[in-house]
């Protein structure tokens, strides 16, 4: 482990021979195997891949929400499986896609839950906690809604609240599963820019799974591409060179334009399998 080129101290999260997937009665279903991932400190990394390829599974496995099927994950050179949840909560925060159950929490209270790893047994907020919660709410620009009940918010606003909660948790590593799924383009860009700023200015490491491929290409320090057959990672330039971006989506409508460094889609009529109009 020590003979790799980059010093291990800079990578905050890495895996060796990681296998992910699901166990059920019918047997083990592997989504991906032999993943050797490295997440460097202070980077914004985007995880790209088509629906169902296993992006969420990977994020859940890396965050210990789901069991790995094999291999090892290291968080700052400690094995992830050996870190208990209360220690992990001070190192890694999550934004998940799951719907949260109904309750009467206000936006402030919800974001303040992110301070739980640092508060006493009653969850009393210190003035520092208060300040961090306020800052987090400010960062996602939701000050005006701070005392509203969260069920009054739109899906997009709620998404930002969940991001603020992760920010309030103030961890070195933040994993976000499709954090912009319910946001319009304007807010999507805003969130990406915020995450990018956090990575560069506060040296936080941020891993996002996303379908916003073009934004990811523009802003990410590194890209993780997940395909059914293989997993590749690298900077945009590297991945263009290796032709991996070009093969991300196996379809003719969506192609990678090397000049623009963006995905473009063609609107020509294609064979949809539907009977054509006569």
């Amino acid at each position: 482990m020590s003979d790799v080129k980059k010093p291990t101290t800079t990578s905050i999260l890495r895996s060796e021979q990681l296998a992910i997937g699901y166990c059920s009665k019918k047997g083990t279903h592997y989504v991906a195997e032999n993943l050797n991932l490295r997440l460097e400190r202070g980077q914004l990394v985007c995880l790209l891949g088509k629906n169902g390829v296993g992006k969420s599974t990977l994020l859940r496995t890396l965050s210990k929400t789901q069991h790995k099927l094999g291999g090892t994950i290291f968080l700052e050179d400690r094995e992830l499986s050996e870190i208990d949840s209360s220690q992990l909560a001070q190192k890694m925060s999550l934004v998940l896609t799951e719907k949260i159950p109904e309750s009467q929490l206000t936006v402030f209270e919800l974001v303040a839950l992110g301070r739980q790893p640092y508060t006493n047994w009653l969850g009393k907020l210190s003035s520092e906690d208060h300040q961090k919660v306020d800052t987090a709410i400010k960062q996602v620009k939701l000050e005006a809604l701070s005392h509203r009940n969260y069920f009054e918010l739109s899906d997009g606003q709620l998404q930002k609240v969940m991001i603020a909660r992760a920010l309030a948790q103030d961890t070195d590593l933040i994993l976000l599963d499709e954090p912009t799924a319910h946001l319009d383009l304007h807010h999507t860009i805003e969130v990406f820019q915020l995450l990018k700023d956090l990575a560069t200015k506060t040296n936080k490491t941020i891993l996002i799974s996303t379908h916003e491929v073009n934004l990811a290409l523009a802003l990410a320090d590194d890209l993780w591409l997940m395909r059914p057959d293989k997993f590749v990672s690298g900077s945009t330039a590297n991945l263009i060179e290796s032709q991996d971006l070009q093969n991300l989506f196996p379809t003719e409508q969506l192609t990678f334009n090397e000049k623009l460094k963006q995905f473009v889609f063609r609107t020509q009529s294609t064979n949809t399998g539907l009977p054509s109009k006569k």
Binding site: R60, S63, K64, T65, D84, S85, S86, Q87, L88, A89, Q90, M92, S93, L94, L96, E98, I100, P101, E102, S103, Q104, L105, F108, E109, L110, L113, G114, Q116, P117, T119, W121, L122, G123, F151, Q169
Partner: protein
């Protein structure tokens, strides 16, 4: 935030005062009229005008009021815990079949004698054995529900599973009743109607001990309960040891429901209705506020129900279970209608 805290303090003060008043009224009301002055003197440790009054108040009415307080607050707390743990506003010890499980345990004990022979018959005479049987029964059903919940995530299915466990328990109880004799059956039927008034001071001490123990267990879970409001995955990511928390919640709910059902019978609706009423009054989801508030409201509600069940100044007493259901069912319906309005 500050104003919230102020209103909460005021609500607590009002509820506390109401509780004292209701407790006094509860002790005051009964089939025999005792002047309030005499009750006050008995309560402060002085003899009253009539010795039999002393006896009634000290050995019947005060234990009954304490039982009502314990049952109400305990059921309220376990209802709140279930609602948070199962992430379902309709969860409660009764809906999830946990009360039925306790009934099943007691049924095995009281009715099982003819099927399983003498050991049970001997045990049935001991009050602690009923408590044990009821607790075991509620643990059993709660454990089974939790196992199923692991497989299914759908909250509606969880409720259906709870109801199914309830009907399985009812079916087994039916079979047991069919094979038991009239005397055993009567004992079980009376137990299942619910009663707050049958406890001696000795039993009351055991009851209080167990309720206090489960409540102390819960104090450490206030923080995890709050984060469970966001679901288990988020809770874990915020440092909650899920398995441990789940275990503590199950143990304390099982203990509370079991021991309450054992001593007071399967009392319906309090566990479901009280947490909702409390959330409406306090308008918060924070368990730091909700746990004590639910305990206060539950105690209050049961004291009132018990006073009504006494039918003051008459010889008649209605089963407490009938009153709580008459009280609780409309509340649940109203809640569902109201919830619909919020969701749309």
């Amino acid at each position: 935030m500050r104003t919230d805290q102020k209103t909460h303090t005021r609500s607590f003060a009002i509820l506390g005062l109401l509780l004292l008043l209701t407790a006094f009224a509860n002790i005051h009301l009964g089939s025999i009229h005792i002047p309030s002055g005499d009750i006050a003197s008995i309560l402060t440790g002085h003899p009253s005008a009539d010795k039999s009054w002393d006896y009634i108040v000290l050995n019947y009415r005060i234990p009954k009021a304490i039982t009502a307080i314990l049952v109400g607050s305990g059921l309220g707390i376990s209802g709140l815990l279930m609602q948070t743990l199962f992430r379902n506003p309709l969860a409660g010890p009764f809906v999830l079949g946990i009360s039925s499980g306790a009934s099943l345990g007691v049924a095995f004990l009281l009715l099982g004698a003819s099927l399983f022979g003498g050991v049970f018959a001997g045990l049935a005479q001991q009050s602690w054995s009923i408590a044990l049987a009821a607790s075991l029964g509620s643990f059993f059903v709660l454990g089974a529900v939790l196992l199923v919940v692991k497989k299914i995530r759908n909250t509606l299915s969880i409720l259906i599973v709870g109801l199914m466990f309830g009907s399985i328990s009812a079916a087994v109880i039916n079979v047991l009743s069919y094979f038991s004799n009239a005397e055993q059956l009567q004992q079980f039927v009376f137990w299942s109607l619910g009663s707050l008034g049958n406890l001696s001071w000795k039993e009351l001490a055991l009851f209080t001990g167990i309720v206090a123990f489960s409540t102390v267990l819960l104090l450490r879970s206030i923080k995890p309960l709050d984060s469970l409001l966001l679901g288990e995955n988020y809770a874990q990511s915020m440092g909650v040891a899920l398995k441990k928390t789940r275990r503590i919640l199950v143990i304390s709910t099982g203990l509370l429901t079991g021991v309450i059902t054992a001593f007071a019978g399967p009392i319906a609706f309090v566990g479901l209705a009280v947490p909702h009423l409390t959330k409406l009054i306090f308008n918060t989801s924070s368990h730091k506020i909700l746990l004590p508030a639910v305990a206060l409201n539950g105690a209050l509600l049961l004291l009132v129900c018990d006073a009504i069940a006494q039918l003051p100044n008459s010889e008649l007493t209605l089963p407490i279970n009938a009153i709580t259901s008459l009280f609780g069912a409309p509340i649940v319906i109203w809640l569902l209608v109201r919830k619909q309005k919020i969701n749309v």
